[in-house]
């Protein structure tokens, strides 16, 4: 029987959701799952909020209740620092669920107590509790033979208002005996996933078996005959024979590297030079584990700004030189001058972290024998060279995207990033221009005058009524192009519900005697050329 220490953070979904949303601990909080309260904070519980209440009922009992949706991913993510703290004190931690984790007691109790194991256990538990409390995580610690008993010990401690509770060695069965049969709901045995024992608990209760002790007193062979494997597993838990070894996790290897600069560096090229060693360490460290990195996160800390992070994707995988390039582009950001990217920084760089976000075995990125969709190495290297010269956004590929305006129909993706359209293409997008698409979509609309037969500018009233037919296009004030055919107005009203971003305009297609055709835009009494069919 392995002595086990269990750390339990009560109301974990509330703690996690509150930390994620940035609420203080003393606000009455409830985490909702499918319209019912899944967990609530102590202040909310004082007002009568309970698990399983409907939202309306809970809000009636506690009007200032803050409700947050339940997100298992947040639960798990916020628990990670807790596990790391426990791992710092003792290796070999099993995460039973987010909010509760177990660690073997033998090693730490020898470390803290020498020959007196019982004293060592308690000292370790106290240290663990203090360490977590210092970091702001409220928790209780239970010690017993096996994780199930230890978890029950922790729950008992929480009810009694203690911080640590230990069942003496070999007496777990006796200590578990008075507990209600509902305690079986959560326990697990080796080789079994989480099973739903509510039917079993329900049945046992109806048979008059209300405590773990009463259940454990039944002969094992008859329990197996009557209740099957689920019953057998529950019987072993109830009788304190939970001898499964902990499924401990290995701390993931540290792949991230960083470089610190003292004094802070003021120029992009200095940082690029300083980061080279860290980049090589990163790539080398990955290569030692037969890994390559296809997605990298670069975090840059400067003297006065907030740390800035950005994910970079690579069409193949990162080499050290690629990593240096990404750092440089991130520093240059959008501050590109006409001569190319800027070299001066607005504030000195103190530290750069390189964190591999996605790694894959080296073999996963080998070229196919017959070549695959990936461009060949030479092409990729040429594009990368232009990117290092002009900046990351300078080399782009185009992806068709959904949208109404001609400019929205295409998304430009920097070389190396994921080619995903900004808007889905499989939706109908009513109101977009019919094909053929214009060959030139002006990056900035060009002002133009549209005149009628008398030389007056054509205007539109509020109901898109035109003052006169279009007759003449005057570009740049001098270039006159007689109109031979036009269609419109095609009204567009964007975001009319929001006065700040609302736009109201009309589109026209115009063909000129010169053989050119245009998409014109009329907004607030002015005419613009939006695209050309040239």
């Amino acid at each position: 029987m392995t002595r086990t220490v269990v750390v339990w953070c009560p109301d974990w979904p509330v703690t996690a959701a509150a930390r994620e949303a940035g609420h203080p601990e003393d606000v009455p909080l409830a985490v909702l799952d499918r319209g019912r309260v899944l967990a609530c904070s102590a202040t909310a519980r004082r007002d009568g909020v309970r698990r399983g209440l409907r939202v309306r009922e809970a809000q009636a009992r506690c009007p200032e209740l803050v409700t947050l949706p339940y997100d298992p991913a947040v639960d798990a993510r916020v628990f990670e620092p807790v596990v790391t703290l426990v791992e710092e004190l003792a290796p070999g931690v099993e995460i039973i669920r987010p909010g509760i984790c177990a660690v073997g007691a033998r090693g730490p109790s020898r470390y803290y107590g020498g020959s007196d194991l019982a004293k060592g256990e308690l000292t370790f538990a106290q240290v663990l509790h203090d360490r977590l409390s210092d970091a702001g995580f409220g928790c209780v610690v239970g010690i017993a033979d096996g994780p199930f008993a230890a978890e029950q010990a922790a729950r008992l401690a929480e009810q009694a208002g203690e911080t640590v509770l230990a069942f003496p060695p070999g007496e777990s069965a006796r200590c578990l005996a008075p507990l209600p049969i509902d305690a079986l709901r959560e326990g697990r045995l080796p080789g079994q996933a989480d099973v739903d024992r509510s039917d079993l608990i329900d049945l046992l209760r109806r048979l008059g078996i209300r405590t773990l002790g009463a259940f454990a007193a039944l002969p094992f062979s008859q329990v197996v005959t009557r209740f099957g494997t689920v019953g057998a597993a529950a019987h072993r838990l109830a009788s304190g024979r939970d001898d499964r070894p902990l499924a401990t996790r290995r701390p993931p290897p540290e792949l991230a590297t960083s470089a610190t600069f003292e004094p802070p560096l003021e120029r992009v090229d200095q940082v690029a030079f300083g980061i080279r060693e860290a980049a090589e360490r990163l790539v080398h460290g990955l290569a030692e584990r037969d890994l390559v990195c296809a997605c990298l996160r670069v975090e840059i800390r400067t003297e006065d700004d907030e740390p800035r992070g950005r994910r970079w994707r690579h069409p193949r995988w990162f080499t050290a030189a690629d990593v240096v390039d990404r750092v440089r582009w991130q520093l240059q950001g959008t501050r590109t001058t006409s001569d190319g990217p800027a070299e001066e920084l607005t504030s000195g760089v103190v530290r750069v972290d390189l964190i591999p976000d996605e790694v894959a075995p080296t073999g996963a990125y080998q070229d196919g024998l017959w070549g695959d969709q990936a461009p060949d190495e030479r092409i990729h290297r040429a594009f990368t060279r232009i990117q290092s010269m002009l900046g990351h956004e300078a080399v782009v590929t185009a992806v068709l995207s959904g949208g109404r305006a001609p400019a929205e129909r295409v998304t430009l993706v920097p070389w190396g990033d994921d080619a995903t359209p900004a808007r889905p293409t499989d939706e109908p997008w009513p109101g977009h221009l019919p094909p053929p698409a214009p060959a030139t979509v002006l990056p900035e609309p060009e002002p133009v005058d549209v005149l009628d037969a008398t030389g007056q500018v054509v205007t539109l009233d509020d109901r898109y009524g035109m003052s006169a037919p279009c007759q003449l296009l005057v570009r740049n004030g001098t270039e006159r192009e007689p109109v031979v055919g036009w269609a419109g107005p095609w009204p567009v009203e964007e975001r009319w519900w929001d006065p700040a971003t609302a736009r109201r305009y009309a589109r026209f297609q115009v063909a000129c005697a010169t053989g050119n055709a245009y998409v014109l835009l009329h907004e607030k009494g002015r005419w613009w050329i939006e695209a050309r069919y040239d």
């Binding site: 080399v395 590929t397 030139t440 031979v484």
Partner: protein
């Protein structure tokens, strides 16, 4: 006039519609071509090699309509754009010429003759094709121009653009100094580029209605097409 001598010239395939203007039936590897003003014509020339699997690059055209390119048959997954190369455009083009089969460039600033010659030599050495859009280029193989164009489908306040008839003219070394012209749908009703001789539009009523209903001109006579060449030459093409 394809002869045995021209057949061995390595070319990049062009769309069938350009058979009349491109003497070798395709874009000659190592050569530079000038395309005047029409982006659609540039995209149409790009479509042939792109469909055949070549990687293409476009430098200095921030307004390139990628949707139109895709409709014309350009494979966007093998098209890379450098919209604003700034003053480094020659270096960018030279880098791309090293690895790509076809590079389109719209020079943001004029190139000195020496630079242009050096780039042309590099293009020749690598066997790539350089399409210079909207600017003159010394030593080019051919100069392609849209000399007349007429859009179909728009009336006075109704309809929508559907297709365009255009006359494309080529002149230069490649044609022995003679003008070669062809009439094209650029594009036709399906967004494709076809020779006007091959297929007539499904109905020409809307084209007629443009002229029937076209309003009287204000300052210039309304012509079905205008251009640099006189009407006689266009008809000859």
């Amino acid at each position: 006039m394809p002869t045995a001598a021209t057949a061995i010239v390595p070319t990049l395939p062009a769309l069938a519609a350009f058979a009349d203007v491109l003497p070798e039936g395709g874009l000659r590897r190592g050569a530079s071509y000038v395309v005047q003003v029409s982006t659609t014509l540039t995209l149409a020339l790009l479509a042939g090699p792109s469909q055949a699997g070549s990687w293409c690059g476009v430098v200095g055209l921030p307004g390139l309509g990628a949707e139109a390119a895709a409709a014309m048959g350009v494979d966007l997954t093998r098209l890379v754009l450098v919209p604003s190369p700034g003053r480094h455009w020659l270096t960018v083009v030279a880098t791309l010429v090293d690895v790509l089969d076809l590079v389109v460039v719209h020079p943001p600033s004029p190139a000195y003759d020496a630079e242009a010659r050096r780039l042309a030599a590099r293009v020749r050495e690598r066997g790539a094709v350089l399409l210079v859009h909207g600017s003159d280029w010394s030593g080019c193989e051919l100069r392609l121009t849209v000399t007349s164009s007429r859009w179909h489908g728009l009336g006075a306040g109704h309809g929508q653009l559907t297709a365009r008839e255009a006359t494309v003219e080529a002149v230069g070394r490649g044609t022995g100094g003679r003008r070669r012209a062809t009439r094209l749908w650029l594009p036709d009703r399906d967004g494709q580029v076809r020779s006007l001789a091959q297929a007539a539009p499904a109905d020409d009523t809307d084209a007629r209605c443009v002229h029937a209903e076209s309003p009287p001109s204000v300052s210039a006579p309304v012509l079905p097409f205008t251009g640099r060449v006189d009407a006689l030459e266009v008809r000859a093409g």
